[in-house]
């Protein structure tokens, strides 16, 4: 009985938890509720994914109204995988946030924090799970508004301007997406994605469809922080509370990239890769993002900002996969969604531990922190290896597929650029490692102790996952390959 209602539970649990947090009106009970919900969501996502693997796509008609009329939830391997990423990260980050949020957020706002956090998760789950295009927009707004609020909770006053900038640009992106959806509706007369996918095929050369696609691409690119539309990201990540940064970095941009993958599915790979010159454009922009993000990371003096620019670079990797196309390219991009979520989540959690103990994420204040917080920094280094793409870590898998995909198309310059970006990422990660291990401890962290266990355990779960999924790739690479087949229309 429950099993048939799993799709709706996935979203509703978080959605209901949000007002409940308001009712609870205190930090710790709200946290407990959020942990329970996040773990239940993970269980739900796993059960759904297993169901999809066994029986193929799962559909759920809301209120019993059948698809074209009512709203439909539809889960295939692709969004089942994305749901798993979001649920897994939230199940790790929410427990972590107990100490971190208590330290960075005023106690009288703590339950608000958890309420908004649950709203954000409901929005992200909703975007991923729904089969209705307008529903995507609604959930996109829910998650975006929640993330603006979460960013503004950062204790640095600059968090407010960062959140404002995020708000302006995010709204711009959402508006573009809405315009795109409207145009698509005008052209096809339906909002159901499966329906649209069928109906656009006859009229792919119509101006309305092309304009709809242009608006959607730009809007989603903005949400995904694709170069040159990434300028909201560094500030938002740098000044948001640590737990929020980890959650946003690991999930929010991933969902936008999922939407782009869904667009490829909607319009059909033939249209995207054969008829439009999109491949070259996306690959060029993605590479510019990879290189400029890596180079900018090299110049930062704040670790959170450094990692934020590294995120710009990694978004570039994922988009590069979409741009290259084919099983290898899409598979590489999709698997990097998962692997980057683990590794970037881990490094941001490590920085959160440092912020808790040192009170700053300035690079200079990290001097000698390797001796004060050996476990935190060890996990950071492991996850950094994964971000660099060292073989036998998860980060290597995605990059390897991308290089192979570039080779397959004979684009040597792409492989060369990836190599350069790899070298840059070694350098910017080295700057952190050098500060942490090759200097006498800074006065600012003279009395810093190791982070509490409630933060170390989530951190190490993600760091260990970064290594585990680099060695046993059957789960992440296997699912990514099947998801790529879904996007390409090879598999249902």
């Amino acid at each position: 009985m429950i099993a048939s209602h799993l799709p709706v539970l996935q979203v509703v649990m978080s959605l209901v938890a949000a007002p409940l947090c308001m009712v609870l009106h205190r930090g710790r009970p709200a946290w407990l509720l959020s942990v329970a919900v996040s773990w239940a969501s993970l269980a739900c996502a796993v059960a759904l994914l297993l169901q999809v693997i066994d029986d193929g796509a799962v559909t759920y008609a809301f209120g019993g109204w059948a698809a074209p009329v009512g709203i439909e939830y539809r889960i295939d391997i692709l969004n089942g995988f994305v749901l798993l990423i979001i649920a897994a990260i939230s199940a790790v980050v929410v427990p972590y946030s107990l100490r971190s949020a208590a330290d960075e957020i005023a106690p009288e706002r703590l339950w608000l924090f958890y309420a908004v956090l649950n709203l954000l998760l409901a929005g992200l789950f909703g975007i991923a799970i729904t089969g209705d295009l307008f529903n995507v927009f609604v959930f996109l707004e829910i998650s975006s508004l929640a993330s603006y609020a979460l960013v503004s909770l950062g204790r640095d006053r600059r968090a407010l301007t960062a959140a404002f900038r995020y708000l302006i640009l995010g709204t711009l992106g959402a508006t573009f997406i809405l315009i795109g959806i409207g145009l698509l509706y005008a052209a096809t007369g339906t909002l159901n994605m499966a329906d649209i996918a069928v109906r656009v095929q006859g009229q792919l050369d119509s101006r309305t469809i092309l304009a709809a696609f242009a608006f959607l691409t730009v809007g989603i690119s903005l949400k995904a922080a694709l170069f040159p539309l990434h300028s909201w990201l560094p500030g938002a990540y740098a000044y948001a509370p640590s737990a929020v940064t980890a959650l946003l970095a690991a999930t929010a941009t991933k969902v936008a990239i999922y939407l782009l993958l869904r667009m490829v599915f909607l319009f059909g790979p033939d249209f995207i890769y054969e008829e439009l010159p999109l491949s070259e454009v996306i690959v060029t922009l993605a590479l510019l993002g990879v290189l400029s993000g890596s180079a900018a990371a090299l110049l930062q003096t704040d670790v959170k900002r450094l990692l934020a620019y590294s995120s710009v670079a990694h978004v570039g990797y994922m988009l590069l996969g979409i741009g290259l196309g084919g099983m290898l390219g899409l598979g590489g991009g999709i698997v990097h969604l998962f692997n980057h979520a683990m590794a970037k989540g881990a490094v941001f959690l490590a920085v959160g531990c440092i912020v808790l103990r040192v009170g700053s994420s300035e690079l200079a204040s990290l001097q000698g922190i390797g001796r004060r917080m050996p476990w935190t920094m060890a996990a950071f280094v492991i996850a950094a290896f994964s971000l660099i793409g060292v073989p036998l870590t998860a980060g290597f898998i995605g990059k390897w597929y991308l290089v192979l995909a570039a080779m397959e198309r004979g684009w040597w310059w792409v492989a060369a650029a990836l190599l350069v970006a790899g070298a840059l990422s070694v350098l910017y990660m080295w700057r952190v490692v050098e500060q942490a291990y090759f200097h006498e401890p800074h006065p600012a962290n003279a009395d810093a102790a190791e982070a509490p266990l409630s933060m170390l355990v989530p951190l190490w779960v993600l760091a260990a996952a970064s290594v585990y999924f680099g060695i046993d790739t059957s789960l992440n690479a296997g699912l990514a390959a099947r998801a790529a087949a879904v996007v390409l229309g090879i598999a249902p």
Binding site: P228, S292, V312, G422
Partner: protein, 581 residues
Amino acid sequence: MRPEEFPLLLDWGTPLGLPPAFIFFAAAAIIAMLRGDHQQLAKRAVLLLVPVIGLWNLTTLSMGPSWVIDVLDFQLVQLRVDRLSLLFGLLFHLGAFLGVLYALRVRDDTQHIAALVYAGSALGAVFAGDLISLFFYWEGMAVASAFLVWGRRTPESNGAGLRYLTIHLISGLLLLAGALLHFQATGRIAFEYVGLGRVEGWLILAAFGIKCGFPLVHNWITDAYPQSTPSGTVFLSMFTTKVAVYALARGFPGADILVIVGTVMAVFPIFYAVIENDLRRVLGYSMINQIGFMVVGVGIGTELALNGTVAHAFNEVMFKGLLFMTMGAVLLRVRHVNGSDLGGLYKSMPLTTIFCVVGAASISAFPLFSGFVSKSMIMAAMIEEGHDVLWLALLFASAGGFHHAGIKIPYFAFFAHHSGLTVKEAPWNMLVAMALAAGLCILAGTWPALLYGLLPWEVAYAPYTYPHVLIQLQLLTFSALAFAWLKLSGIYPPELRSVNLDADWLYRWLGTRAARWTLGAIGFAAAGIRETARDEAAALGGKLLGRRGLLTRPTPTGAAALWVGALLAGYLFLYFFVPGG
């Protein structure tokens, strides 16, 4: 042509053995766990026992691949035993033993651990049967050896170590890229003959070339080696470049370009070595000179040449290690090794002087010393293959090598004008290590059959013939005369207290500036970087676009919104007009 295709001459026993790298890594872990000074004795016992246990382990290995780990689609072979890998395995165990003995009294566990991991990685690289494992050990060597450079703990060594690590990590990345392309093209990841037929061949050659010290990428040798600790440099001189020579011999035998590259390597350092004042840097140049001979040998690629190459690599580890040991002893006692301020040390360090002279005689290929029996094999192979002009160039390089390594090093350090320095003789462990190395140099020189029996291919070469001995003695005599005449007539460049920059100018001066400008330019182009690159952007922007230019205006949100509009227009244009529509 390839080693594994040749029949075995020795059976190495039952299949018991471990990959040698594992033994060294385990020992490094043990040293790391033994804390505190009171366990000094235990540490020393572990250090000395490791190479001995390793040597015993080596005798238990059986030919062929074993210890295969399946990861992803790859079969990672940890232990590929053939005559080529065994010879280098034996060599590195001997080298590691001499090294740890020489470093026995160092009270810095980091250096011991780094040395063991470094030696283990070198052994791992030599026994790795596939390119991915090779890459791992390659990077392991880079990181571990960088800690040996940093072990000196001076600002200079910090900088040199970082430059050293960077260039070796780049080498590793090139190797990985080449390996993956190789896998993509052939579906095989085994490390066998690579050749230069495809792009991946050139990538892998570039990776090996960096580690080998090819011209223009040789600077890490002369930059980092003089900055390391006395014992650190001994380790450094033994492994990295020899692993590269091994890899070249396996991957690129008979690649013609290597004959040219090797000749350039053999010739150009002798000019730098003459004007260099830091005697350990002179040895660095001398090392490039010697490796040049080996690279030539790989490039010729005949059995005689390849035998000569590995034999010379074997001997070079001994005599170059020995020379670095003697200079390390001087550094330990005098605190510097500047030729201009040394001299007359033979009185206070008589044994070290004798060992240095043995090393110098070996490196100069004096008859009865080790260099004589191996370098001549390469030279003979050159004549056989008809490289007459290059042969003359190598002869010149030999004479030059004799002059800077054979005469300059012992002369300025131990003889020359008396500098008034009176110091203690080197400590016992260093003396024993030097004595053993000197003994091996003489043994190889007087009983070449012993060395020849270990070589990958059967040797039908006799070093001690009248013409060969006579020619070599003439060469040496006239070079010595030239040195004496130049010195007496005052033409010889005086030992100046100076630092010479060579091609490292490219990356230490030009490179840093180019990097700064490139980053500045990127900062100008990308709105997000503006905050940190503000100065450059403002200066450039003021000239190009004005202070309120398109990309430099201080309203990031507006600028980003502009990008959104521009991108939309771009996409619309593309979708409407570029394809068929």
